[in-house]
Symmetry: C2
Subunit: 143 residues, 2 copies
């Protein structure tokens, strides 16, 4: 990117407002993609997954033998980040759920796997539930 | 979300393809929002920021006295995640840069702060550079 193409600030910056936990849940309930945040031996990382909200927890699916599953099972501490960006208005919101992960279901076949529904092909028999201990978020309001 | 509203899988899932580091850099170069991923005393977390790519590194700005700045200065290990989601085609891409962070510049005034340009109002005099040691990504191609 040519840095000189960045215009000087010719518009007023937006205002950040904290979201309540109830607002956070309402907002992420409408989304389909969020990011699992966890640590492996090389440090922290974030990976997008499809998810659903169920009774104030976050559910997503993964394969049984991948690094994500192994690390979440070994060390349950993790987070989940969801955001929504409006490039035109330079605004949006973000939500961070911090808590722990646990395997809640091991699907024996794909037939009973109506939810959550991963966009990529391939078997993802593990359903992981993240239970938030902290739920925080911010909205960036255009000024 | 009413889970019963999720349709059964009536479309073929998309195909995941690994991106090369060069493709990763090309893709994130066009984006304005990514997520800093790091750990504090409560575990891993991810926070969206505005960023630019400069010579294969990622630059973003932050306030001098916030938790993000403190933790990145204390423990430089971090990651940066950028993705692009196409809800209509249920496709997209994601890039993960894993490496270390360092303060590269402390702006004395906002006058010389043309880049990177945060959308929110407020002083963000620290420019942090993340130097990726690993750069990986995946594209989800509609089938």
């Amino acid at each position: 990117m040519n840095l000189e193409m960045h215009p000087a600030r010719s518009w007023p910056g937006g205002r950040l407002a904290e979201l309540t936990p109830a607002e956070c849940l309402d907002l992420i309930d409408d989304e389909q993609v969020g990011r699992v945040v966890y640590c492996d031996d090389h440090g922290p990382l974030a990976l997008p997954v499809n998810f659903v909200v169920q009774e104030r927890t976050i559910l997503f699916r993964t394969a049984q033998d991948n690094a994500l599953a192994r690390h979440l099972i070994e060390s349950a501490t993790c987070a989940f980040e969801v955001d929504h960006v409006d490039h035109l208005l330079r605004s949006g919101w973000s939500v961070l759920a911090r808590g722990s992960a646990a395997v809640v279901r091991h699907l024996s076949s794909d037939a009973d796997a109506a939810w959550p529904l991963p966009w990529p092909e391939g078997a993802r028999p593990l359903i992981i539930r993240i239970t938030p201990l902290e739920l925080s978020g911010r909205r960036l309001v255009p000024s």
